[in-house]
Amino acid sequence: MKLSRRFLLELLFPPPPLRPPGAKDERAFLSLCIRCNRCVAACPYGTLKPAPLGAGVGAGTPLVEAREVPCYLCMACPPVCPTGALEPITDKRAVRMGVAVVDQLTCYAHQGILCRTCVDECPLEGEAIFQDQQLRPVVTEKCVGCGVCEKVCPVAEPAIVVKPRGRG
């Protein structure tokens, strides 16, 4: 009984996906987003898409799948939101989509192979991610979670992945 209730809750409210820049915290976002798809239409890169089946009550709300298309922080979507589910921020450094996490077991740099793709491609280069003295990528607290690193990582199963904000 208890197990099935938790299962139902998990089905209706699965862990939050990566949200567009400017998104309020997941609970407020889910309550304000009226699924009008205006942010999706505003995105020039095709990054945003309506959440498909599996998003529970969040079906139809916008999300980012960084390995497919990351967010390039053009900041076109926050101002078009009619409900304030996305706050109208314009500074890409104020974005808080999530934070990138490096998997040390698969990251090439951690195996001693020279690779700095994520460091080179980061839109906040030098601020969000840098190479330490062993030339391994280190993510700082400035990381906004745009997912460009996850997109460009040359490892088949990306060794750097954005953990969406609000996920424990």
Partner: protein, 286 residues
């Protein structure tokens, strides 16, 4: 008496244009045309933000907070509703167009001799109110704007968007639309008349000064013929309807009325009722 205005062709043109717009919008948006975007939950028209009131109210209840942006977006549609009545249902909503087409298909092609099952308008009003209350209470409890998510107008206009933006079939939206379709098939125009929370709210937004079809009994030439009653796509007798009967101002009855006894006007006509005027003895058929 006076030149009769044919409203139905105009209404079909508006409904068709709206449906076509939403069908093409994802392609237009991707092509760089961004002046208009959104679906029937919220529409951007140039610099103007429009938010469908039922969707907006459910978002306000779900978030349990006040948002000026949201309220401002709802203002114009609310004013439209207060001035012209629930024209959203009969002139704009693509589900309304689909529902009318389905009904006429059932009657004309399949020759189904079905009559309006629920002629008790009073009961229908309470069903509609209960549906709206359930949707809004659910939005509050789950903290999710259920009207915005589940109402047929948004689902139908989001379908082309999801077909375009998703790289997988829009399974959930498709399934929800099929559920609404199943409900629609249970009775004549059941979703539009009773189950749609958007229509329910728009129907509540009537004041005594809202544009409405008003009946002037003395002018009615033939209460027995009553083409108005037969033509109404909602099964309402416009001669006897109350303010919340569910009329959406499609004006079908007005254009079908041979005598001019039915007129759409903002306030009740003040007629000098002559005891000896022709037709004044005719009482509405009961």
């Amino acid at each position: 008496m006076r030149g009769k205005r044919r409203w139905t062709p105009l209404r079909r043109a508006v409904q068709g244009a709206v449906a076509l717009l939403y069908l093409l919008l994802p392609w237009l948006n991707r092509g760089g045309f961004r002046a208009v975007s959104g679906n029937l939950a919220s529409l951007k028209l140039g610099p103007v933000d429009l938010v469908e009131p039922a969707a907006g109210v459910s978002a306000l209840l779900a978030s349990k907070s006040w948002s000026w942006g949201l309220a401002l977006g709802m203002a114009l549609p609310l004013l439209l509703a207060l001035a012209l009545g629930p024209v959203f249902c009969s002139w704009v909503c693509p589900w309304g167009l689909f529902s009318e087409a389905l009904d006429s298909f059932k009657l004309r092609v399949l020759k189904l001799r079905s009559s309006w099952s629920a002629q008790g308008y009073r009961r229908l009003f309470w069903v509609r109110l209960a549906v709206l209350f359930a949707f809004l209470a659910g939005s509050w409890a789950l903290a999710v704007p259920l009207v915005a998510w589940l109402a047929p107008p948004r689902l139908l206009t989001a379908l082309p968007q999801e077909l375009f933006y998703l790289r997988v079939p829009p399974t959930l939206t498709g399934t929800l639309l099929l559920l609404w379709l199943a409900a629609e098939l249970l009775g004549r125009r059941l979703v539009c008349r009773a189950l749609c929370p958007v229509g329910s709210l728009w129907n509540l937004l009537r004041t005594p000064w809202t544009l409405a079809v008003r009946f002037q009994p003395p002018l009615c030439v033939d209460p027995q013929l009553a083409p108005c009653h037969l033509h109404c796509p909602w099964g309402i007798d416009p001669r006897r309807m109350g303010r919340f009967a569910g009329c959406t101002n499609c004006l079908r009855c007005v254009e079908g009325c041979p005598s001019g006894a039915l007129q759409a006007r903002p306030a009740a006509p003040r007629l000098p009722v002559h005891p000896h005027a022709p037709g004044s003895g005719a009482k509405p058929a009961s």
